[in-house]
């Protein structure tokens, strides 16, 4: 099986609309990642695709066949539950091999596949334990193992790595990518980890309040966000935003905000020409904000500096507006001292102040 198409699916719990007219096609063999703020409807969407919940309206197609009427066990999907849902009475090995047993795979085959899976997940020594004797991360890996051992048409993974340490998560990422390449199946993946989303996906779909905001390949999501929501959501720390006007001065087109003025590049200026005057939102990512005293630098006070290991995240107070800048570690300037802040004009985004849709994104170099 292959293409998964969601056609205007909608799910409401009582009066509470949780997924709102979602149209999304996940093509065959694609690795699609669903991201969005907590409670935006990601898990619900997966449950609708798997058939565990019934849509209020809309239809799900697998390879152009409507499957709305099929129960989950007829849909040929594998799923990792956000809450794990391990069988408490069964050992880890039995949990992992459960689906195979249901499909009447011969016992020796099951054993062998369980061992292989457990090895990939680094839980081989735990095979005889019961779930309640496992740590959080170990449980999560069992839940993951239960899905990836199967040969399903589509894999639905709901935050399968959230409780793992960075290293293990890196390993698992590689493992999942390998699996995806090997199986050549459709994956729908939910995560809160931007690195995961960026590194693993063919495309990322950003949801907010059950509404699809943008669905595009990772670089595009990052570099050409469709609106302020996506721009703010993707990227950690998030993009800096300033509200202001576009003004002309000295024949150059400027963005003028409360605390800053930024000249527009010709491309941006070109886009800006066609706009009515009025408010716009300027966005710029922290890594495009440098601290220097060069020309065009704005003066601000260091508000807080957070070391992130390789980098330091410096928040500067530009007379009431805060701007974050990511600079390489170490950063030794003390709090409240004055620094110069440089917003790279080539890296600015412009958004409509009214509805937040993107007007201009920097050209990718």
């Amino acid at each position: 099986m292959a293409e998964v198409r969601l056609a205007s699916i909608r799910k409401a719990f009582g009066g509470n609309v949780v997924v709102d007219g979602l149209d999304l096609t996940v093509s065959d063999r694609e690795f699609l990642t669903l991201v969005g703020p907590s409670g935006c409807g990601k898990s619900t969407t997966l449950r609708l695709v798997s058939g565990l919940d019934q849509m209020t309206s809309g239809q799900v197609y697998f390879d152009d066949q409507p499957v709305g009427h099929l129960p989950p066990n007829k849909r040929d999907v594998a799923m990792v539950f956000q809450s794990y849902a391990l069988y408490p009475h069964r050992t880890v090995a039995q949990n992992i091999g459960f689906a195979l047993r249901m499909m009447r795979v011969p016992k020796p085959d099951i054993d062998q596949r369980v061992h292989r899976t457990a090895e990939a997940l680094n839980i081989s020594e735990l095979l005889d334990r019961k779930p309640r004797e496992l740590s959080g991360g170990q449980r999560q890996r069992v839940a993951l193992g239960r899905a990836i051992i199967r040969d399903a048409g589509a894999y639905l993974l709901d935050e399968p790595l959230s409780n793992l340490d960075a290293q293990l998560r890196g390993d698992m990422r590689v493992e999942l990518k390998r699996l995806h390449a090997e199986l050549n199946r459709t994956f729908i993946y939910v995560t809160h980890d931007q690195v995961e989303a960026m590194t693993m996906s063919d495309r990322i779909a950003v949801l907010n309040h059950g509404v699809l905001q943008q669905c595009a390949p990772p670089e595009q999501i990052y570099q050409r966000p469709a609106n302020t929501f996506v721009a703010a959501f993707m990227g950690s720390p998030p993009m800096n935003f300033f509200t202001g006007q576009l003004v002309d001065s000295d024949g150059e087109r400027f963005f003028r905000g409360k605390a800053c003025a930024v000249p527009l590049t010709p491309e941006a200026a070109h886009v800006a020409q066609s706009l009515p005057d009025g408010e716009v939102v300027l966005g710029i990512r922290p890594e495009d904000v440098t601290l220097s005293n060069g020309s065009g630098a704005l003066r601000g006070k260091v508000f807080v500096a957070e070391p992130l290991g390789a980098d330091v995240l410096v928040t500067v107070d530009l007379g009431g507006e805060l701007v974050k800048s990511r600079v390489p570690a170490p950063f030794r300037t003390s709090i409240d001292s004055t620094v110069g802040v440089l917003l790279d004009p080539a890296r600015i985004h412009l958004f409509s102040a009214a509805d937040g849709t993107a007007l201009h994104s920097p050209t990718t170099t």
């Binding site: 239809q59 409507p66 709305g68 794990y84 391990l86 309640r132």
Partner: protein, 296 residues
């Protein structure tokens, strides 16, 4: 797209159909026998033994019920005394059954908690010991029990009944509760202890509500055991002070004459109070009680 996949809204919900059909079948199975009694209780006796049977009372009458409220006006009917006793008996049954159920919970909850959460030597022995006391048929113990109650001066009081029903139901209640307590996630208790609950508070505020289906099952069990027990009630009581409904109901069926319609009415009267109670309490049996509480 092929034509034979039905559109969403006309999808056949086999499960729903199956459940509905099964529910109707079970309702019939449970209710029809009772319906016969119910219908009879509104008939005159001639109509009750007619061939072919009258499924609906042809001359509906409330006489059978009226006799409970106006026992003195019952002239020609049998069981005049039993009729008089019925309201008392209902009250006694209610008191005895309710107290049995409550006492059961009070005594069984701590014991069952110990079995489900603490590991201690002799636990299996004790558990089996409880059940063994229940395995001796009541015919063997009814006479000595009678002698004991007599010695204690408890004959013809609620206590004689409550105590004997306790011996019947307590072992079972402990077993039932022990099982349900095991299904309550331990993390919940942990959370409660962190939230500064002492042992009792933990049980009361967190443990028991989550184990509610089990509590309801246990309470209903002990209530019903007490409600319909006959032999002990007969032996331990003799007057309106403690006679329960089954004893009085049996009085409608003497060896010389049985007035079926009146007896049917008594049966209906005996069945209604627990059913009404059940209607209230069944809400506590909630599916997936602990859903969403723990991850793992």
């Amino acid at each position: 797209m092929t034509g034979h996949s039905p559109p969403l809204r006309y999808r056949i919900r086999w499960k729903k159909i199956f459940v509905t059909v099964a529910a109707i079948a079970f309702a019939a199975y449970l209710f029809l026998p009772f319906y016969w009694i119910l219908a009879m209780s509104f008939m005159r006796e001639v109509d009750a033994i007619a061939v072919p049977p009258n499924w609906i009372p042809p001359n509906p009458t409330l006489d059978n019920y009226a006799s409970f409220t106006q026992p003195d006006q019952v002239e020609v009917l049998v069981g005049g005394r039993a009729i008089k006793e019925t309201p008392y008996a209902l009250g006694n049954s209610m008191v005895v059954a309710t107290s049995t159920a409550l006492l059961n919970l009070v005594l069984a909850v701590p014991a069952a908690y110990a079995f489900s959460r603490l590991r201690f030597t002799g636990s299996r022995f004790l558990l089996v010991g409880y059940l063994v006391t229940r395995m001796v048929p009541s015919v063997a113990i009814i006479i000595p029990f009678y002698l004991m109650m007599r010695a204690l001066g408890l004959l013809d009081t609620y206590w004689a009944l409550i105590l004997s029903y306790l011996t019947f139901s307590l072992p079972v209640t402990i077993w039932v509760l022990k099982d349900f307590f095991r299904t309550v996630p331990r993390e919940l208790e942990d959370a409660a202890r962190i939230d500064r609950c002492g042992w009792l508070r933990t049980i009361w505020s967190v443990f028991l509500p989550v184990a509610a289906p089990g509590l309801v099952a246990a309470a209903v069990f002990s209530f019903m055991t007490a409600w319909n027990e006959f032999m002990f009630a007969l032996f331990m009581t003799s007057t309106e002070a403690a006679k329960t409904m089954p004893v009085v109901a049996a009085n409608f069926a003497t060896d010389i004459n049985t007035q079926f319609t009146l007896m049917a009415a008594a049966g209906v009267v005996a069945v209604v109070p627990p059913l009404v109670l059940a209607l209230f309490f069944q809400r506590l049996i909630v599916r997936g009680m602990a859903a969403g509480s723990v991850k793992g």
